[in-house]
């Protein structure tokens, strides 16, 4: 190995980042699809000789990780036949090999210089359609991968620099959006070409060994940095159970993702044993996606100190799961909804466990309960009077959710997600592109999970068809409508549910801002299913708020009053959730509030204790009550909080079997722990 001085390393490190950014620019510019340009659902990577992702672009990291798995497969299966040669590029959208689901597609290309293989480049894009029974990413009702768009394992799409038209035709034949997929394929090829060309220039100037050594050093450096942080944190283990509600064949089943994170020294073991078995449906997570989402969550948490190098982060993470569970499914489990279903249960569980670890490790400022909740999503299509077809994916309420509360501050209102470039279009942009009229798009009052530090509020949208007689196809593929999807911390409450409701012919009757989740004439469409909207119908969609952290009764009265003043919290919820009584100024009466809070703490102490199996589920406790400093060595009183006592945002959870359980300090009545809880018999059983 060539010796590498710190100056050359720093120059080459920065240059490799620049090269990857250049690749990302080519990818985005050539593609130009709304998914790529507006949602940044794409990425590029530079990988080392062994296919480890060394430098990745600034967008969604799982595309880059998919490239890594694709390289490994090509090395293992294609070296002899058809061969891996200069100028070759391999394409795949196979979730059982590389990508999280079939609509994520990657192209990887080996790089050769000075008679050796220097590494790989890769590029990934989420395409609009990859076949299957339903337009868009989700094949409604699919029971296995055989009912979905059939994936292509890695194929040599470019041979010696020439695009194989026969193989391209095979790929395009599988999609309803062949023309855009063709452009997206070229975009991935262009990004690889640009990066290869630039790395070759570097190899010529500095020597291939120096470039290769730089890549190894980047990984080593990131690994060392991350391990250094971990060594400062006390060893321990942390658990979380997250849920995924899946509507199929007329009923909702709940899948439980059970994670125990064990941190020893400078390593992390993520053990998903005991998670529900895989679904006869579209929501399963393949092994590459599981590892990808673990790494993604760790990278988001430590991004402040550790550059974007998945390989260095992956080395610190040992991921264990039972094959055949929904978080590590076996062929031919259905996976087409992969990126926003089972993977999110994984992502939330990992984020939660890491954050509990950081909070215990005196790094609460780096901790967050969750980045977002499950997403309410739907695809829609319509024809206008001239016969023009409109089609799109509605992401406002998924991306506009509230983030969870953080260890030292509230969550972010309508600002979820851990990628910097996530965004939703303007209302005007969407109305220009699609036949919708937005009656409102606003922050969701009372949607935030209550807590000493509250979650961020979610987003609410009211839509009605406009300029068309009907929107003939709405395909829902949503989670988080029937289960709490953000874990609360230390006595806080989970965020609200996602809500989808249709009000038939409500437009004529109501004012411009019609739409309320408590209206009695609401029709609730299936969370996985189809409907249509006629002119005058109103669709109400609400994206969840984030979960809270700490006992809501400990939230400073001024903070509650400020939320009431800014319209984020109703007076009723201030009283119900925070015990803050309205005063003569309409906002807060300090004396009455003290009395009410004292009364609420007494009620907690008088409430019946939960069943023993529930008590156990409360999990780890702080050493002492943060309110009265009483030692908690002898445990706490565990009680169940009735959703019905928490007001409208939690109404969807009533009757689901889910409970909010809280740990009460026996000395003062403060909440010191809280969990979402589902009796094990109500969840799909483990493998």
């Amino acid at each position: 190995m060539t010796s590498l001085d710190p100056v050359t390393f720093e120059i080459l490190r920065h240059r490799l980042v620049t090269i990857v950014n250049e690749g990302a620019i080519s990818l985005r510019n050539v593609s130009g699809s709304p998914t790529v340009a507006l949602s940044n659902d794409c990425n590029v990577a530079l990988l080392n000789e062994r296919g480890e992702a060394v430098v990745v672009g600034p967008t969604i990291v799982t595309h880059a990780l998919a490239c890594s798995y694709a390289c490994n497969y090509v090395d293992e299966h294609c070296a002899e036949n058809p061969g891996v040669n200069p100028g070759d590029m391999f394409f795949t959208n196979d979730p059982y090999v590389a990508t999280p689901h079939q609509t994520c597609t990657v192209v990887v290309a080996p790089m050769f210089a000075g008679g050796r293989r220097l590494g790989w480049t890769g590029a990934g894009i989420h395409v609009a359609d990859a076949g299957g029974s339903t337009p868009g990413q989700v094949s409604l009702g699919a029971q296995s991968v055989w009912d979905e768009g059939l994936p292509m394992p890695p194929v040599r799409m470019v041979e010696g620099g020439v695009l194989r038209s026969d193989i391209e035709a095979d790929w395009l034949r599988r999609s309803r959006t062949a023309a855009q997929n063709a452009i997206d394929l070229r975009a991935k090829i262009a990004a690889n070409t640009v990066m290869q060309h630039r790395v070759m220039e570097l190899a010529e100037r500095y020597g291939p060994d120096t470039v290769a050594a730089t890549m190894e050093r980047i990984i080593d450096s990131v690994e060392a940095r991350l391990r250094g942080i971990l060594r400062e944190i006390p060893d321990g283990s942390w658990s979380e159970e997250t849920y995924l509600d899946y509507y199929d064949r007329g009923g909702v089943e709940v899948y439980a993702c059970r994670l125990t994170l064990t941190k020893q020294g400078d390593s992390l073991v993520f053990d998903f044993s005991g998670s529900s078995r895989q679904a006869p449906g579209v929501i399963n997570v393949t092994r590459p996606a599981l590892e990808g989402y673990v790494v993604r969550a760790v990278m988001a948490t430590f991004g402040y100190a550790v550059p974007l190098c998945p390989a260095g982060v992956a080395r610190v993470c040992d991921v264990r799961a039972e094959r055949g569970s929904f978080v590590d499914c076996d062929w031919p489990g259905g996976v087409c909804k992969g990126t926003t279903s089972g993977t999110y249960a994984v992502f939330h569980a990992v984020t939660s466990c890491i954050s509990r670890m950081l909070a215990d490790g005196r790094m609460p400022d780096r901790a967050i309960t969750t980045w977002r909740s499950h997403m309410p999503l739907f695809d829609f299509a319509a024809f206008d009077a001239q016969g023009n077809r409109f089609a799109g994916v509605f992401t406002d309420c998924g991306l506009g959710q509230g983030s969870g509360a953080r260890g030292t501050q509230d969550g972010i209102d309508t600002g979820s997600g851990s990628e910097p470039e996530v965004t939703v279009p303007n209302v005007e942009t969407n109305e220009l592109r699609y036949p919708w009229l937005y009656l409102f798009r606003r922050q969701g009052r009372d949607s935030a999970g209550a807590g000493l530090r509250r979650g961020g509020v979610g987003i609410e949208v009211g839509l009605t068809p406009h300029g068309v007689d009907e929107i003939g196809s709405l395909v829902f593929h949503s989670h988080g409508l029937d289960c709490p999807s953000s874990p609360p911390f230390d006595g806080g409450y989970p965020g609200s549910a996602n809500v989808l409701q249709v009000f038939r012919q409500a437009r004529a009757a109501g004012p411009m801002d019609t739409g309320s989740s408590s209206a009695s004439d609401a029709e609730t469409p299936p969370s996985f299913g189809r409907t249509s909207l006629r002119d005058g119908d109103v669709l109400f969609c609400s994206g969840a708020g984030g979960s809270g952290w700490g006992d809501p009764l400990e939230r400073p009265v001024e903070a509650v009053a400020a939320d009431v003043a800014s319209g984020l919290l109703s007076v009723d919820a201030a009283l119900q959730l925070y015990g803050v009584a309205p005063g003569s100024d309409g906002i807060a009466d300090v004396v009455l509030t003290e009395e009410r809070r004292a009364g609420m703490r007494r009620q907690r102490l008088e409430a019946p204790e939960a069943d023993p199996e529930v008590v156990q589920a409360i999990g780890a406790l702080p050493q002492a009550c943060p309110r009265c400093s009483q030692s908690l060595a002898d445990g706490v009183k565990v009680i169940e909080v009735d959703w019905a006592d928490l007001g409208a945002p939690y109404a969807p959870f009533v009757g689901t079997g889910f409970r909010l359980i809280t740990g009460v300090c026996r000395a003062c009545g403060a909440f010191v722990a809280s969990r979402n809880y589902l009796p094990p018999k109500l969840a799909v059983p483990p493998v």
Partner: protein, 688 residues
């Protein structure tokens, strides 16, 4: 014809350039006086007048143009010293600014905080707490009224906002840029109900698609206007006391000048004007030198700012992010990274060497300033390497402490890395040069151009020290260091033109009607002509350039396409395809795909002053003698390098590197293999 005066008020210095009757350029600077900018302005002008041998009052009373660039607007935003703004919008959409398209939680953060995800937060909105009110009204995407304006409701919210004590109102209704009737009516009603309360309409301030950006831009204008009125009136009054007769002109973000009255009304158009003066100055010089495509690089103490000139025009963007607020204002694009003379070099616990983005700034500044700085910087490395002479700083008014710089680099960088101090200093400089080359490459590539087709201009205190190296890495073969490099922005301001940039969102879909396109252009032109007339300028003397932002119907990013009056719907589409392939590569545009028009732009310019720079003949070739020879490290062995005084280099002089050129406020480093040539305007041209 009187002289032309350009002033650039910066954070530390106020720079002044005067172009006299004969086309000669004079320059100097003075300290900025933040509490009353006029004092620093007059002081800088007085310094130049000393050189000219003239009185300030005489120069001012005879000046044909007096143009000013100032950071006073941005300072108001940074220090949150704006008006108490009330915001009226379409009911149901009151939260558009707080939602901020989700993006506002991370947009505009400094690079080191970009991935500090747990620390993200949205910026505080520009309206007062509780100062948002929704009113029932609605227009749709065709401009049709879906719900009429609820006039009673409007009057009620105006009353509520008045009770809140607001002193400025912003109104943004959905789709008002297509149909402003509700906003116009709202203004009438507000004027009646609350006479004297300034009203800012989004259809007037930023008539473009996108309610979040349109609202922010309107709010920012409402936030700034009352203060801008006071600031500019004060400066104007002070200059009039000194005899100024011409109107005070101000630099706008679009790179052109406007009368101060206009910026008082639309201060948001001047908010990002700070760094654009330098680019405009390069545009003038490039035109004189016959250069079409230029990269403008300004390296100061804390940042490296880059602008591009393509086909003789600065690249502008319709949008910018100022103090984390996304604004829809035509702005000359300037990209910035934290790489300057003050960038600090550190060795971390893993033995890795980093340079920047943290900076020692101007206080305490680099170690060699002797003002209390202890962390080694890029400037310290240049001093250790002999590239910057100890006596060459700030006209020799401050001596640089070579030994202190060497000690800092030895202790903080060389020793931890087990390196020789010279090697460490070379490393620091190499790293910062490479970072700048990387940024320049990314910037040019992302616009669809190859940096090798550009000429580089370098200015700012540190630019000319480094340009020889970053130009070489970029593969650029020609570099200019302008004679006025130390006051490049003031030069740009002095030589600026009047510029009006009108934007109009007029969404159209193929098949287009040629008539509709021409009507839109004609209406915009008539409106701009009326504006020129109102400013007592001759509309017929103005130049008019038209651009259209277009895209493929199923895509999102827009391409800016030039439009000529002769263009038809057909030729416009052809032009779009050509521009698309220029930006994204041959074959990237799929033939037959339908396109759409999003926004029309009309850029109109008028010369502010008639003058021409003096050009000396290149014939009198002289061979100047170096003023000194000193050891300079270009690699690990010192090279005895001649040092020339810029003042001794006349037009036509050609010298071979390695060499150093020093002037009172800057140092030019010319590497071995590079040739330096002085042109007729006394700029230094460096060829690789």
């Amino acid at each position: 014809m009187g002289s032309v005066v350009g002033i650039d008020v910066g954070g530390t210095f106020t720079d002044c350039v005067v172009v006299d009757d004969a086309g000669r350029v004079w320059m100097d600077k003075a300290f900025t006086t933040p509490s009353n900018l006029a004092e620093g302005i007059v002081a800088a002008l007085a310094n130049v007048c000393d050189r000219l041998g003239a009185e300030v009052d005489a120069v001012l009373s005879e000046a044909s143009v007096f143009a000013l660039g100032t950071t006073s607007l941005i300072n108001r935003v940074v220090s949150r010293r704006g008006a108490r703004v009330g915001f009226i919008t379409t009911r149901g959409h009151e939260d558009a600014v707080r939602i901020g398209r989700v993006l506002s939680r991370s947009e505009g953060l400094p690079e080191q905080l970009h991935y500090d995800v747990a620390a993200w937060n949205k910026p505080e909105p520009l309206f007062v707490e509780g100062g948002v009110r929704g009113v029932v009204e609605r227009v749709d995407s065709k401009g049709a009224v879906v719900a009429p304006l609820d006039e009673e409701g409007l009057l009620q919210v105006v009353g509520e906002l008045r009770d809140l004590g607001v002193d400025s109102i912003a109104v943004m209704f959905l789709w008002s840029f297509l149909n402003p009737q509700h906003e116009l009516r709202a203004r009438e009603l507000i004027k009646q109900a609350a006479p004297g309360l300034p009203v800012n309409l989004s259809s007037d301030i930023a008539p473009t698609l996108g309610e979040f950006e349109r609202a922010n831009t309107t709010l920012m204008n409402a936030y700034l206007a009352p203060g801008a009125e006071r600031d500019f009136a004060e400066i104007d009054a002070r200059l009039r006391e000194h005899g100024l007769r011409q109107p005070l002109l101000l630099m706008q973000s679009n790179g052109g000048l406007a009368a101060s009255e206009e910026l008082r009304r639309r201060p948001v158009t001047g908010l990002a004007a700070g760094p654009v003066g330098g680019v405009v100055g390069v545009q003038r010089l490039a035109a004189a030198l016959g250069v079409r495509n230029a990269i403008c690089t300004d390296m100061g103490g804390t940042s490296f700012d880059v602008g591009l000139i393509v086909d003789g025009q600065p690249r502008f963007s319709g949008e910018s992010v100022v103090e984390r607020h996304r604004l829809r204002v035509p702005t000359v694009e300037v990209t910035s990274i934290g790489a300057g003379g003050g960038s600090i070099a550190t060795v971390d616990q893993f033995g890795e060497l980093h340079v920047g983005p943290h900076s020692a700034g101007s206080t305490p500044g680099p170690v060699c300033y002797g003002a209390g700085g202890s962390e080694p910087t890029v400037t310290d490395a240049n001093v250790v390497l002999g590239r910057i002479g100890p006596d060459s700083f700030w006209s020799g008014r401050r001596t640089l402490d070579w030994e202190a710089a060497l000690t800092a680099i030895t202790e903080r960088v060389a020793r931890p890395l087990g390196m020789d101090p010279v090697r460490a200093a070379l490393g620091i400089v190499d790293i910062v040069d490479a970072r700048m080359a990387d940024l320049l490459r990314t910037m040019t590539i992302s616009t669809g151009y190859d940096p090798r087709e550009f000429v580089l201009f370098a200015y700012g205190g540190a630019g000319p020290v480094h340009v020889g190296a970053y130009a070489r890495q970029l593969g650029v073969s020609r570099v200019y260091v302008p004679l006025y490099a130390p006051v490049q922005s003031a030069f740009g301001i002095a030589t600026g033109e009047f510029r009006r940039h009108q934007t109009r969102a007029a969404p159209m879909r193929e098949p287009y009607r040629t008539e509709a396109i021409r009507e839109t252009c004609a209406a915009m032109e008539a409106s701009t002509q009326a504006d020129w007339g109102a400013a007592a300028l001759d509309p017929n003397a103005a130049l008019y350039q038209r651009f259209v932002d277009m895209r493929f119907r199923h895509q999102v990013h827009e391409i800016r396409v030039p439009l000529s009056p002769e263009d038809t719907a057909e030729t416009l589409v052809q032009r779009f395809f050509a521009s698309y392939e220029q930006a994204f590569g041959k074959g990237s545009a799929v033939a037959g795909s339908p396109t759409e028009i999003v926004t029309f732009h009309l850029v109109s310019t008028l010369p502010a002053a008639a003058y021409s720079l003096t050009r000396s003949s290149d014939d009198g070739r002289i061979a100047p003698a170096p003023i000194a020879t000193r050891d300079v490290y270009f690699d690990e062995k010192p090279t005895a390098t001649p040092v020339f005084a810029l003042a001794n280099l006349g037009p036509g002089t050609t010298l071979e590197g390695p060499l150093i050129v020093e002037s009172p406020n800057t140092t030019v480093v010319v590497h071995a293999g590079q040739t330096v040539e002085v042109d007729g305007y006394s700029n230094l041209g460096i060829m690789a």
